[in-house]
Amino acid sequence: MVFSAKTGGSEEWKAVISAISTLVEEATFEATGEGIAFRGMDPSHVALIDIAWPNSAFEKYVCDADVKFGVRIDEFSKLIKRSDKKDNIEISISEDKLLLVTIGKNKKYKMRLIESSATDTPLPKITYNAKVGVTSAEFDKILGDIQVVSEYLSINANPTKAEFSGRGDSGEAIITLEKGMPEMPELEIKEDSNATYSLEYLNSIVKAVGTVAGTVVCEYSSKMPLRLEFKVANIGRIHFYLAPRVES
């Protein structure tokens, strides 16, 4: 079996690891001819991350047989953090089942792999009636604005505008983006939709990957899960699914 994947810099792995670390402590990656994939949920199954990292995004990618490898995210993260921004990172798996990580020109690590107990995670089956694309800088700001008063973000979108709002003991907040505003490059509405999601989960994922993604595309339907899509240069896409808040 030959598997090796080399990135052009270290930001890609840093983004992938920080995204995954918001949900799980142990991660199982799957490498195939097409690229590297990860899918996993937090222990309470409220949120799910689905990453498809195509072979074309790598500087060099070889995989002649599918392979799964599990790592402890904290261990992997510490090691990747030893890289400079411009360092290439090349990973492969040794015969004695260790992860070989080459950072830059002269740093080589060997890291233990863990046996993956993860079962295959399905994807939620949802029809999305609303699609709202917001620049990631604006989306991060909105979350901060709402958090002043609330632990939840409600999104209410119709064909002319999208409203982001929150309500708590101290009061309410509402941020309106009209169609055509530069902060919201995309607004596609099949049906007016309104749903509420936990800011705690949204904040951590946006902090983790928002900065490296140009836009965040929110897709959802009333009282249904939200799917955030982050397009990250040299990774491809990261999908983040989040269950809605229970309506009381």
């Binding site: 309470s44 199954h45 994807l123 939620p124 089956k125 949802i126 936990s198 989040l242 808040r245 229970v246």
Partner: protein, 341 residues
Amino acid sequence: MGLDLKQLCVRERTNLESFTSKIVAIDAYNAIYQFLSIIRGPDGLPLTDYNGKITSHISGLFYRNINFLSLGIKPVYVFDGRPPSLKSAEIQRRKQVKKDATIKYEKAISEGNYAEAKKFAQQTSVLRDDMVEESKKFLELFGIPSIQAPSEGEATAAHLTTTGKAYASASQDFDSMLFGTKRLVRNFTNSGKRKLPNRNTTIEIEPEIIQLDKTLTELGVTREQLVDIGILIGTDFNPDGFERIGPKTALKMIKDHGRLEDVSQIQDKLSEIDYQQIRDIFLKPQVVDVPEIKFGDVDYGGIVNYLTKERSFSLDRVDTSLNRLKKALEKKSQNLEQWFK
């Protein structure tokens, strides 16, 4: 005393969060006895209300279930019914332990040796019928269902897992494995430091999950053979087991010979016990089927009333805990499971 299967089971670390939105069938007697033995004042005596009635079990159920419900876990308590008659020797033995401990407790108190006294006090826990009834009524205030088992609670709890009504059963006793539970959770509580009864040390307690099929595959035996192994080690129905046969030897004997009847070196002793009946207790247990497990709403007012007016709990502490629960329930996000179908 429980069955010593610990070193044969495949035990995996877990956490309470992974049981969110899942139904877990709890061995009620096992949980309540634990509360009675652990939740005690500095003098080693259980907590009581102004009438002198014991409240350790109510206190335990209160905090434990607030914790479960806050995390979205759905507990259902399974209470023991009539024990199988073969258990009488074990029950007699337990009674004697309690009697002896009571005598030792009184002696220690009269000598002013409080550390000793506390140690013995913990062994004297008795769960009376009125306490069982109180517990059931108290659970009802939380909207938590109780199930009355016809015989051993663990058997009905195991049955709930095999019929898909519950995800796992929770007990400290490994007997649940012989009763065929799909998944057994031990230390079903928050991880953290716990004081060991009778010892002045604390240990780190972490919930662990044992899957029956994984354990059977790992050991390379069938469930019937696991029951035979249990009988060799000693169950509640033959508490002494077989002399000089521990878990490892028992496993080897059954793997080598297949079943009790074919292990030649134990035949004399085997003829003295009713092993066929013990097998039946585990493999064809008396259980009850429940059509549907229903959870109700939390009756906050009812809980406050009962605890503060009837059982001498402090209003402040009850309020603080209930507010935490209220907040957690309001805050809950649904999980994604329902959209996977």
